[in-house]
């Protein structure tokens, strides 16, 4: 399955075509094809995962000569033994960690050849890819099942399923890519599908606006992506191959300056795709799409593409931004700013989906920050756990709106849903707890690992990132408490009061329960075995890290870049502090909403508080900035100036050119055309007529005349031959 992984996106792509072609004629409108295809893909993805685990357990023998030369310097670090699989079994036991090499399984074909440059398409399967395959197909499968109830009866039901298939296919192709060119293709396809799905109900203007906004904001980042990929292409001596680029970056064959430029450009792309601060504005608006699509976008397919790309090209970022050697870099700063401001924004939203959207922004900030501080595994692990509970929360929100007149306004239309929708309540609560980092649930382990990474990695830790991270975790706990209160407690309001809400059907509740269960257990896949948890047996601890983290010279591991790269140890202090802080925040929110304690009405009384609230409510005026200042300037003065320039300068030039060419044309007509050309034409006509008249005399029509010509000519010819023969 590792070499045949290309089948997985292929099946989804075929499903897309089939649904479009025959979906409307099927009894379920194409849903059955989509669900069947994605179920098959899920099984194949699991098989890929199992295949990769087997490969990790018994790695194939490695040719060693090539790597040894490049890694000699760093391999000298004490305690680090870099050996072939055969010797490693004895020596490695003493050294604690064995660094065998487990190369990814790549397979590619030449797509086209141009001037000696081969462009290939293919797949590269390693732990990260296998993990993403499983996550994407799992979430997509649940979303497919959920949608068959949620969007049932929609007028574009078939197109909806077709695009779900294409969306999944694009993302699967994106995570399987083995070269950067294919990465761009997947990236753009994902963007296109998100555009189509966000604007699914395009008859309403805000929806199509949101789709356009998502597309345009992503275009901003795409420019960065293109420039970054091209920079890497030339820096790596003309190759698109990801493994080669990473390895060259990791062994110092590409200068740090080039890597810095490339990683900054790529960071723009990450910011737009993964909703990092200042380019995150499209993400909350993307809630205009159907809720299952939001779940798919936020959990598995779209927004994690940026994080995935950083993880995939990590050697480039690691060396470009000098992540190991400093304790401040742009990746970490972007992530930190995002996680904090995203969490604050989630507070003032009244729309449940927007709360979750800003929560996603904030959690993506956590992931980017983790990548920025060097905690690669923590980031990818958080991506993995976040997919489970965020999908659970989104689908739960969809279930609630299904019951409450398709409204998402939790302040106006929800309240007291706990009694009417027990399963939605339970699963939503589990998701919220996991997101807030409740001990032993999924989010606890991954968030704690990120915070530990911020505290311990880099050149003496990242204290600012650690503190802001804990603040972000507090914010998360508080806004999730607020959301839970508005949705499930208090008196029913609006639509929830107008008619008794009812629990959703099994096709909605089933995925919810499954996701909630996963949100509980997936955290244990990366159980730490350090600190107070040192009793955890080695075979059960850090399984995720063991299987997912690449062990190749192309990845900045301890073996290749030395002790700069580390894994954070489980720190009971950080875990306790962050959990306590989150509990405190949740308690404060609990007191505020349940008990009515605290200075309610502060925003009416205090000017400062009101200003702060207003700032948050207007989303830091970023949309205003983009729309009024940038778009407004383009539409107003700049457009007018351009118009003036057009009318006066450009048109002047164009008119001048037109007039002068007309005059030239007239002169040419008078003199050249009439004088020369026409005379030549007439002359040749007269000549032809005259010669014709002359020749027609010979054409008597009498066969004997022709015979005479023939014999005469033959005689002349014979005479000529005789003369020539006698002369020579």
């Amino acid at each position: 399955m590792l070499t045949h992984a290309f089948l997985i996106p292929l099946i989804m792509a075929v499903s897309f075509v089939v649904i479009l072609a025959v979906g409307k004629r099927l009894p379920k409108g194409g849903a059955e094809i989509g669900i069947a295809a994605v179920a098959v893909c899920f099984v194949l993805a699991l098989a890929t995962g199992v295949g990769w685990i087997q490969r990790t357990e018994s790695p194939p023998p490695v040719e060693h000569s090539a790597q040894e030369a490049s890694s000699e310097g760093s391999a000298a670090a004490p305690g680090e033994v870099r050996t072939a699989a055969a010797e490693g079994s004895e020596e490695g036991a003493g050294a604690g960690e064995v660094h065998e090499e487990i190369p990814p399984v790549t397979r590619s074909i030449t797509w086209l050849q141009n001037g000696g440059q081969e462009i290939t398409v293919g797949t590269m399967v390693d732990g990260l890819t296998a993990m993403m395959l499983v996550v994407v197909t799992l979430i997509s499968l649940l979303v497919h099942v959920y949608s068959s109830d949620y969007v049932a009866g929609d007028r574009r039901f078939t197109h909806y399923y077709a695009f779900l298939s294409l969306f999944t296919a694009s993302m699967l192709m994106f995570v399987l890519t083995e070269n950067t060119l294919q990465l761009i293709v997947g990236w753009e396809l994902v963007g296109l599908c998100s555009f189509a799905l966000i604007g699914h109900w395009w008859e309403e203007k805000p929806n199509s606006n949101a789709a356009l906004k998502a597309f345009l904001v992503n275009r901003v980042g795409d420019v960065g992506l293109l420039v970054g990929i091209i920079t890497l292409y030339f820096a790596a001596g003309g190759t698109f191959d990801i493994a080669t680029i990473n390895e060259m970056a990791n062994t110092g064959e590409i200068s740090q300056g080039l890597l810095f430029v490339a990683s900054c450009c790529l960071l723009t792309a990450v910011m737009s795709k993964s909703g990092q601060f200042i380019l995150h504005t499209w993400l909350p608006d993307a809630m205009a799409g159907p809720t299952p699509v939001s779940a798919l976008i936020h959990a598995a397919t779209m927004v994690v593409a940026g994080v995935y790309m950083v993880a995939r090209l990590y050697a480039v970022f690691w060396h470009g931004l000098n992540i190991g050697g400093t304790n401040i870099n742009v990746l970490a700063v972007v992530g930190t700013v995002t996680l904090f401001f995203g969490a604050l924004l989630a507070f003032v939203q009244t729309d449940i989906k927007k709360v979750l959207a800003y929560s996603t922004v904030s959690q993506l900030g956590f992931m980017v920050m983790a990548l920025g501080v060097g905690a690669w595994t923590a980031a990818v692990f958080h991506l993995f756990t976040h997919a489970m509970f965020k999908a659970c929360l989104f689908l739960g929100a969809g279930s609630m709106s299904h019951a409450c007149h398709h409204s998402f306004d939790m302040v106006k239309d929800y309240g007291g849903l706990r009694k009417h929708m027990p399963w939605t309540f339970r699963t939503f609560l589990v998701g919220a707890l996991a997101l807030s980092g409740f001990p032993l649930l999924a989010g606890f382990w991954s968030k704690d690992e990120i915070l530990a990474g911020a505290g311990q990695l880099g050149d003496g830790g990242y204290p600012v990132m650690l503190v802001v991270g804990i603040l972000g975790a507090m914010g998360t706990a508080a806004y999730m408490t607020r959301a839970v209160w508005y949705c499930f407690y208090g008196e029913p309001r609006g639509a929830a009061a107008a008619h008794a809400p009812h629990e959703s059907g099994p096709r909605i509740v089933g995925p919810l329960i499954l996701l909630a269960g996963l949100a509980v257990v997936v955290g244990f896949t990366n159980l730490p075995d350090t600190g107070v948890l040192s009793w955890v047996p080695e075979g059960a601890a850090l399984r995720f890290e063991h299987y997912v983290e690449p062990v190749t010279p192309a990845f900045p591991s301890e073996a290749t870049v030395g002790p700069d790269f580390g894994h954070p140890e489980f720190s009971i202090v950080i875990a306790l502090v962050s959990t306590a802080a989150a509990a405190l925040a949740a308690l404060a929110a609990y007191l505020w909403y349940w008990r009515g304690a605290g200075p309610h009405g502060l925003t009416q009384r205090s000017r400062v508080a009101r200003a702060g609230y207003r700032l948050l409510e207007n989303k830091y005026y970023l949309d205003t900035l983009y729309e009024t200042v940038i778009v407004g300037a383009v539409k107003g003065p700049i457009a007018r100036a351009a118009n003036w320039f057009d009318q006066h300068v450009l048109d002047g030039v164009v008119n001048g050119a037109g007039t002068s060419s007309k005059q030239v044309g007239r002169w040419v007509y008078d003199h050249v055309d009439q004088g020369v050309v026409d005379k030549v034409v007439r002359g040749s006509g007269l000549g032809a007529e005259g010669s014709g008249q002359l020749l027609r005399r010979g054409q008597t029509g009498k066969v004997q005349t022709y015979g005479a010509y023939l014999f005469g000519a033959a005689t002349v010819l014979a005479a000529v031959f005789v003369i020539i023969a006698s002369a020579s």
């Binding site: 020749l695 027609r696 010979g698 054409q699 008597t700 029509g701 009498k702 066969v703 004997q704 015979g707 005479a708 014999f711």
Partner: protein
């Protein structure tokens, strides 16, 4: 020399044939003149064949005779068709192709 006499005879026959083709007005006479030309060629072929002791010249002559028979057949048919239409075989009157 024997060969020269044959060639002179053939040349005389050929010239008479050409004269007939060009100068005679009767279509049948023109066809007969063409026969003269062909036979002049036959005499040449056989003369060279005899001198060189090579039989292929005689074979060619047989071919020419066969083809001449076919040609006369077609030619007489055409003359007959013309006569039926115009009650005349005067070639000077046949100038439909005049330019």
């Amino acid at each position: 020399m024997l060969l020269n006499q044959f060639l002179l005879l053939a040349a005389a026959l050929f010239s008479i044939g050409v004269y007939g083709v060009i100068a005679r007005r009767n279509g049948v006479a023109v066809l007969m003149s063409i026969e003269l030309i062909l036979n002049a060629v036959n005499i040449n072929l056989i003369a060279f064949s005899a001198v060189h002791g090579d039989l292929s010249g005689q074979v060619f002559a047989l071919f020419v005779i066969a083809i001449a028979a076919a040609e006369v057949g077609v030619g007489l048919a055409i003359v007959l068709a013309i006569y039926r239409n115009r009650h005349s075989v005067d070639l000077d009157e046949l100038d439909l192709m005049k330019g």
